[in-house]
Symmetry: C2
Subunit: 306 residues, 2 copies
């Protein structure tokens, strides 16, 4: 099962000619989720070959315009494109009121339901789950109520090794019991350990999105062991004071979170428009956390093993 994230926008609040504000698409085995929706996201989806109708839900970290202005045109377009199934929007309050006023002024004939689910940004809470995925909110530290997201693939069920079934002549009932994690007693009285019989087809993977935020040790703990971590690195170290004042992170903040979280890989984004190129930001991160890449627009990153 594939688990990837595609970057649609990696700039921060001020627009630039070559980049778009924050937006990403998580794809877990053809389940598509949008994280943040900066202006222009609908066009970015199309340009990257992602059909907006396939989005199952949208997660908005906070209500600064550069993270959500693109949501409202997207909702309108989905209506034009014939959407009939509900769209779930997970966002902090007062997104509900904002959606209501858009219904009043812009979406009077929307053919589908837009369902808002409130994120309480001070809580670590399960927002959404299905048979293969959990999405958790991660409290962050910014100028307005903000939550990050932790996409955690569920541990797959145990599979029974086919040739062990044949070797031991296991019955259906015994196979079912083994899949439940039990040891199996054969007719002979011999007990076969579960670990002898079963395996997990894959190890559960996870992706964490932490933006916008100042350094947060708590957030790092909550996403411990994540395969891929996206963390804002709006500023270089030379802008440390400015970063603190704005509730953002420097390169070193992002890297320290990745280190503390023991993430397997870090990708950084939400770059201030003052930087015309970003290699220096990546290098600053690598002083602390070696496995750092830039979250480049248009690129798709793997979350763990594919």
């Amino acid at each position: 099962m594939g688990f990837t994230v595609t970057i649609l926008g990696n700039s921060s609040a001020k627009p630039t000619p070559h980049a778009h504000p924050s937006a990403q698409v998580v794809n877990l085995d053809e389940q598509y989720y949008l994280i943040d929706a900066g202006e222009g996201v609908q066009r970015q989806l199309i340009r990257r070959g992602i059909n907006p109708l396939r989005l199952r839900a949208v997660f908005i970290s906070h209500l600064h315009g550069d993270h959500c202005f693109g949501l409202f045109p997207l909702i309108a377009t989905l209506g034009l494109e014939g959407k009939r199934t509900p769209l779930d929007i997970y966002a902090p309050a007062p997104m509900g009121e904002i959606l209501d006023y858009h219904r009043k002024y812009f979406w009077d004939d929307l053919p589908y339901e837009v369902k808002w689910h409130e994120i309480r940004t001070t809580e670590h809470r399960l927002l959404m789950e299905n048979s293969t995925l959990e999405v958790w909110s991660i409290p962050l530290r910014h100028r307005v109520p903000t939550a990050g997201f932790h996409f955690k693939e569920k541990q797959p069920g145990l599979n029974v090794e086919k040739f062990k079934i044949e070797k031991y002549g296991l019955s259906i009932a015994q196979i079912v019991a083994a899949k439940r994690g039990e040891d199996i007693r054969l007719e002979s009285g011999e007990v076969i350990a579960n670990s002898e019989l079963t395996y997990r087809p894959y190890e559960a993977r996870s992706y964490a999105y932490l933006s916008d935020t100042a350094y947060s040790a708590k957030a790092a703990s909550l996403v411990h062991g994540t395969d891929l971590l996206y963390h804002e690195a709006t500023y270089a170290m030379s802008e440390e004071m400015l970063s603190r004042g704005r509730g953002h992170s420097t390169t070193h903040d992002a890297a320290k979170v990745a280190l503390k979280a023991e993430a397997k890989q870090l990708i950084i984004g939400h770059f201030s428009s003052r930087y015309k190129q970003h290699d220096q930001l990546r290098e600053e991160c690598r002083e602390i956390f070696e496995n750092t890449l830039l979250a480049e627009e248009g690129k798709t990153y793997c979350v763990g093993k594919q």
Copy 2:
């Protein structure tokens, strides 16, 4: 004095990979005005080398999202960029309420004033004027209250020909009188006709923007003689029934308006996303109005003589 219009977006409601929704910048002698503000307009301004801080006013034709969703991020960015002078927004009601809503949820710390001026879309009315320009609203026919715009350069004052001043030995008082349009009596008793002495440095020019709209003979009359006419041509003639039902124009509708208005040139835009290329739309217009061009994104068109 230059008088041009730059096309920032020529697509209609559904986003496409290669085009942006409606937006244009009129430039009369370095006075910049934005007409409509589809999503992404702020980035389009930057990409075309137009500093958003130079915009004197914004004219919004109607409150469909593809004509105004880009206004709200733009207003936020102007604040980030240090704008301190008021921004005038001319738009139909209830734009005032919509702006209030955005102040409440997105612009609590905007460092400049956003002033809404209501357009009564059923009226032909002077919206704005200064020493060189008048902007008039043009009632249009669409599914929601909609106005087009007529940018009319004011007739310049008369200049007195320099060698006529010398030839007739005109006094200051006589020069001033001539500039007022008067004939001049010389000391000898001879009367020199004003037309002998004066000239207009240029003929006043005008630009008309008619979108979104079904065919309107009234609108054509109100922009009679315009140097450049932008008219929506959302659909080809094969989609005539659909066009009527949606309150839009076909190619022939646009061309007929240009013909009736005796416009000097027609540019067409607001193309439906079903058309991957637009030459055929232009050719259909030319069946009725020869001097038709496509309003291409990124291009700048002259309004009359430069």
